[in-house]
């Protein structure tokens, strides 16, 4: 004899998992939720976008204020200062140089020409020495000048004394100066 035991509760046996009404309600609710979510997202998205546009406008205004005429005097002043810094860095102090450099000439030597051009950075010194010995001493002395990078002896020739007895040895020497020697 076979006994059938029905394990399903009698109330659930008749109940369908989703009735037509509830399926429709669920579907409508789902669609409403989706569209509400979409609407909310669009609303916030637009709201952020509007706010962004306003902030962007404020940024443009602030930038225009910064770059405009309001502060142009300040920028001009600052640029002028930066340029003056560079100009003053190239400022040469010749009186101090002459005072220092003149110590490196022995009394038996006097100059007739002295020239300097910043393009070459070379000092061309022409003068008259009492004799060749004094000239060689002078060249040695010039080499010991701390502002000189190199001293080049160009030429020399004996000069006969004139009416006022200013004979001697004419010479031409070039001195390459350090970049810093003329500056403070």
């Amino acid at each position: 004899m076979v006994t059938n035991i029905n394990l399903v509760a009698p109330e659930s046996e008749n109940k369908s998992p989703l009735t037509g009404k509830s399926a429709l309600t669920f579907s409508i609710l789902l669609i409403v939720v989706v569209f509400l979510a979409y609407g909310a997202i669009l609303y916030f998205g637009n709201s952020y976008s509007k706010q962004n546009s306003e902030v962007q406008r404020s940024i443009t205004q602030e930038k225009a204020k910064m770059a405009g005429q309001t502060y142009s005097d300040l920028y001009d002043f600052q640029e002028r200062l930066i340029l003056l810094d560079k100009v003053t860095n190239d400022h040469a102090y010749w009186d101090r140089f002459f005072r220092d450099f003149s110590r490196y000439f022995i009394p038996e030597v006097r100059l007739t020409d002295f020239s300097f051009d910043e393009k070459e950075g070379i000092l061309d010194v022409k003068g008259i020495a009492a004799n060749f010995e004094m000239l060689s001493r002078e060249v040695i002395l010039l080499k010991s000048y701390p502002g000189s990078e190199s001293v080049e002896f160009k030429n020399s020739s004996e000069k006969t004394s004139g009416e006022n007895g200013q004979g001697g040895v004419e010479f031409d020497v070039t001195v390459k100066l350090n970049d810093s020697v003329l500056k403070k």
Binding site: F26, Q51, Y75, L81, L84, T88, D95, G162
Partner: protein, 276 residues
């Protein structure tokens, strides 16, 4: 009929879920991403706006400070004027020549078209090709990035350069006067740099004749810079960041222009007239 209703009942939920998914994927998700992007962007640009407002505040404080710097402004404008103003510089030179006792024989000025200085508009070797160079004085060399000038190799914008004049000055005086004049040239109100010097003894040119007078030719570079209406971005950002003015330069200028005058003491401590 019953079957049809059952079919709809069976299909309506999956169809709705499917449509919802499709809508979510096609519309909701992109809209959400867009919203997130806008939201992120808002926080970024709000920060940017706050920074800009802060920078403008700093600039406005700096402007208030600048308005009270009358002495410094005139010092700087005197040192690097807006225009060539060679007449006023020559007047200043003449005054200093009188003070040192030398005689000015000749003065000649010509506009400098090239220079060794890296801050000069039209530097010789290199960097800057500026359309402003070939034009008239009213063109500002500081017209910024939009001035039609270009930096070759990206070295230096044309806004950061000066224009200038080469001035050749021939003066006569004795050694003390000449050295004295050089001292006076160093602290003129207007910044000028000596570019060349040539000193000759015996300017009378009579062979054998000896006198104390020296003929001196001095080459000077005198600078000016037209007022710029538009500045370059680096200047704006440096000032806006609150760095302030280059006050060390003002101090340096004060030291140069207002340095106490000490007359050269010739031949007192080993120095001598090297032309004698």
């Amino acid at each position: 009929m019953v079957n049809k209703i059952t079919g709809i009942k069976v299909l309506i939920v999956p169809v709705t879920v499917g449509i919802s998914l499709l809508v979510s994927i096609l519309f909701v998700k992109p809209a959400f991403d867009d919203m997130q992007t806008q939201r992120k962007k808002r926080s970024e640009i709000e920060k940017q706006l706050t920074d800009l407002e802060g920078q403008n505040k700093k600039l406005s404080e700096l402007k208030a400070k600048w308005d009270s710097m009358a002495d410094d402004k005139s010092l700087v404008e005197g040192a690097l004027p807006n225009d060539a103003s060679m007449d006023s510089y020559i007047y200043e030179l003449n005054e200093r020549a009188s003070r040192s006792g030398i005689l000015i024989n000749s003065v000649s000025a010509k506009e400098k078209t090239s220079g060794l200085e890296d801050y000069f508009c039209g530097k010789e070797k290199g960097a800057i090709v500026s359309s402003a160079n070939s034009s008239s004085d009213d063109e500002s060399s500081g017209n910024g990035a939009g001035s039609g000038s270009k930096a070759v190799g990206g070295i230096q914008p044309s806004s950061s350069c000066v224009k200038g004049y080469s001035l050749d000055l021939v003066v006569t005086g004795n050694w003390e006067q000449i050295v004295n004049f050089f001292k006076y040239l160093e602290d003129t109100n207007r910044m000028a740099n000596i570019s060349s010097i040539a000193i000759k003894s015996n300017p009378s040119g009579q062979p054998g004749e000896s006198n104390d007078l020296l003929s001196t030719t001095i080459g000077l570079s005198v600078f000016y810079r037209a007022k710029s209406e538009v500045s370059n971005s680096s200047i704006i950002s440096s000032l806006a960041s609150g760095e302030g003015f280059e006050e060390n330069v003002i101090k340096k200028l004060n030291n140069i222009v207002f340095s106490p005058y000490v007359a050269p003491s010739i031949s007192e401590s080993g120095e001598r007239n090297i032309f004698k």
